[in-house]
């Protein structure tokens, strides 16, 4: 999945792969929802339902050495990046086999092996972090790209402003990906921003930018390719606004009083999976058995992940204070 070629790839194989990745996230999260109601997963859990085209369109374009910073709504990013579904699921269970040793849960998936610098539960909190990762690469004159995902709500935060300015001022290789799903919890964009065109914010910092239909994975991928190419070649930041929508509640505690069912239904019709599937059908690029096959594969993977998580172990309570400091320094904390 690391294909930095410059032209859109519209091969059947590639299209089906994109479709499968989206379905993989969707079905994984549908299962998480179920597991949440069974109290296997606890805490805050934020689903990506409806937004899959963003992670799937962009992350496979990244090189292994590239870095990712995400939000608390990051299951999709982690899965697409290649964090094993087993360890993601175990993390959501809180088992020590989880990708963050069970310490983080749904909002804090980390994976050093894939340069996945975490879910971050502070809105906007990942932005300054991404500046620093990119600064290190800039100083070391590497061509690594740091991709930072964040929501439309984060744009109102001071940390957004400071990060945008620093990235542009210092010329840092960051791809800013705004997942504009029109709401921050229950706050519609127009309640949050005096200028609701988020892409335009980039110009305020003299940063290159583009806005794309975030429900169309092919469009996201094309834009992502342009964006990543630009960052890698120039070493400078780039801002990509992906216009998308979340179909489900903000988290598991949300009565969705702030929007009509009709609005959600209308967006559902533009869903990224449906959209691509329809396109593939219209172009006769998909066989009737393709999706069932994919689903079977995915379901097997999910079943395996659940089995892995179920079989996982609780960290002994004696180890409670571990990981507060590096262990070599504070042996007493072991």
């Amino acid at each position: 999945m690391t294909a930095p070629a410059e032209k859109p790839r519209l091969s059947r194989e590639h299209m089906l792969d994109l479709l499968k990745q989206m379905i993989r996230i969707r079905r994984f999260e549908d299962k998480c929802y179920e597991l949440y109601t069974q109290e296997k997963i606890r805490g805050f859990m934020h689903l990506y339902d409806g937004e899959e085209a963003v992670a799937v369109g962009i992350i496979p374009l990244l090189e292994k050495r590239d870095r990712i910073v995400a939000t608390y709504r990051e299951h999709g990013q982690a899965l697409v990046r290649g964090v094993p579904m087993t360890t993601v699921m175990a993390e959501m269970y809180g088992k020590q086999e989880g990708c963050s040793h069970g310490r983080g849960g749904s909002m804090h998936l980390f994976d050093q092996a894939t340069n996945f610098y975490g879910g971050n539960a502070i809105v906007g909190g990942g932005l300054p972090l991404s500046i620093g990762l990119a600064l290190a690469d800039h100083i070391q004159r590497s061509d690594i790209v740091t991709t930072c995902f964040f929501g439309d709500g984060a744009v109102a935060e001071g940390e957004f402003h400071e990060s945008m300015n620093l990235a542009a001022l210092w010329g840092l290789p960051v791809l800013f990906v705004c997942e504009n799903n029109l709401y921050a919890m229950g706050t519609a964009l127009a309640i949050s921003e005096s200028e609701t065109n988020i892409q335009q914010k980039a110009a305020c910092y003299r940063m290159a930018s583009e806005a794309v239909d975030g429900m169309d994975v092919i469009a996201v991928e094309a834009a992502g390719r342009r964006a990543i190419h630009a960052v890698r070649e120039s070493g400078k930041p780039y801002f990509l606004e992906c216009r998308t929508y979340r179909f489900r509640a903000h988290s598991m505690f949300d009565a969705q009083l702030y929007r009509d069912k009709a609005e959600v239904d209308a967006w559902r019709k533009k869903g990224p999976i449906m959209h691509l599937q329809g396109w593939l059908q219209a172009n006769q690029m998909i066989h009737p058995e393709d999706v069932p096959h994919m689903e079977a594969d995915i379901d097997a993977e999910i079943a395996e992940a659940i089995a892995f998580a179920e079989a996982g172990t609780w960290e002994p309570v004696e180890q409670l204070t571990r990981f507060t400091y590096a262990e070599s320094i504070f042996p007493a904390n072991r």
């Binding site: 809180g94 849960g105 502070i122 109102a156 919890m185 706050t187 519609a188 009083l257 204070t321």
Partner: protein
């Protein structure tokens, strides 16, 4: 904690509803009062505290804000200086860190820097505490930490009466008051007088009397401490339980009266142990009642670790009833 049966003058309610009623009451009572914060209106509040208030009171009194903690906290300060009585909701203490400059460098200093010309009659509410498996960035208990700052007052309502009554008193205060609502209390139910209203905020409350030891606590830990006291009573140990209610200023008199009587103390505090409010309370006892002590003061605090996600580790990280019982026994030299 009780079934829903309504008798004349008494209602069954919850902590959440008591806070909501306090907000509604304040807004209706005084046209200068309004509430401002993230998702308090259309969403209904992240813990459903403010559900229904937007429809009832309108968007000028229930003002949804963007994610701009420093900006709207500062806006609350300015509005207070210009004669309003704003309530700023910072959703949770975890996000209040983004507003600390405005809280410490402006709200807490303006009266002093201006030589008493500008006061900041602002109330800032926020949820605090762990227990919902929200992990390291969403589980802080920093109310004791905020109590370090001169110029602020810090309240920690632990009962339905205080959830209902502290807000109005805080709004009448000419200085900035921070109210910390422990997240684990929102679902607590119980009985409340229909005419429950403002309560004093300057005295700690003795929630249980006892002769053997003073247990000093506040907020979410109050109920665990009372539970511990009940368990101890079964073993013949009569603990006095003090609910501090206000962490700044502290009501030294109530603490010292109790400790002078019991000659022993354990402080229970959900803040991290080092630099905890418990340390301050302990130190004050040492300064003011040292000669009355028959044993070292104990404390039960949170362990020195960011709060972990898994339930068993989270529980182990914060004060729990068995730990309180054990600390009391240690202080009494009992097995």
């Amino acid at each position: 904690m009780q079934q829903a049966t309504t008798q004349s003058g008494i209602i069954d309610t919850s902590y959440r509803e008591a806070v909501r009623e306090a907000i509604r009451d304040a807004i209706k009572r005084d046209e200068r009062v309004f509430l401002m914060g993230e998702d308090i209106g259309r969403y209904g509040g992240c813990y459903a505290v403010t559900k229904g208030l937007l429809a009832e009171l309108g968007p000028e009194r229930i003002r949804d804000t963007p994610l701009s903690e420093s900006g709207f906290t500062g806006a609350g300060i300015g509005a207070a200086m210009a004669g309003m009585r704003p309530i700023v909701e910072l959703m949770t203490v975890n996000f209040s860190l983004l507003a600390l400059d405005q809280i410490l460098n402006t709200a807490a200093t303006v009266r002093h820097m201006s030589g008493n010309q500008c006061g900041v009659p602002l109330v800032i509410r926020m949820a605090t505490g762990a227990g919902r498996q929200l992990a390291a960035q969403h589980s802080h208990s920093l109310e004791g930490w905020y109590a370090h700052i001169p110029g602020l007052k810090v309240l920690t309502p632990a009962t339905l009466e205080d959830a209902r009554g502290m807000l109005w008193t805080a709004l009448e205060d000419p200085d900035p008051v921070l109210i910390f609502e422990n997240v684990m209390l929102y679902n607590m139910t119980g009985k409340l007088a229909t005419d429950a209203g403002p309560v004093g905020i300057d005295k700690a409350a003795v929630r249980r009397t006892g002769r053997d030891i003073s247990l000093i606590t506040y907020g979410g830990s109050l109920w665990k401490t009372i539970e511990a006291a009940t368990a101890l009573a079964a073993q013949g140990i009569e603990a006095e339980v003090i609910d501090l209610r206000s962490l700044r200023p502290l009501d030294d008199a109530t603490i010292m009266t109790s400790v002078t009587k019991t000659r022993r103390a354990v402080i229970v505090d959900e803040g991290w142990r080092s630099g905890s409010l418990a340390a301050e309370v302990g130190m004050r006892i040492v300064e003011q009642a040292f000669w009355a002590l028959d044993a070292p003061i104990g404390r039960v605090c949170s362990e020195e670790v960011p709060i972990p996600y898994p339930s068993h580790l989270e529980s182990a990280a914060i004060p729990q009833t068995p730990k309180i019982v054990a600390a009391v026994k240690a202080a009494l030299g009992r097995p």
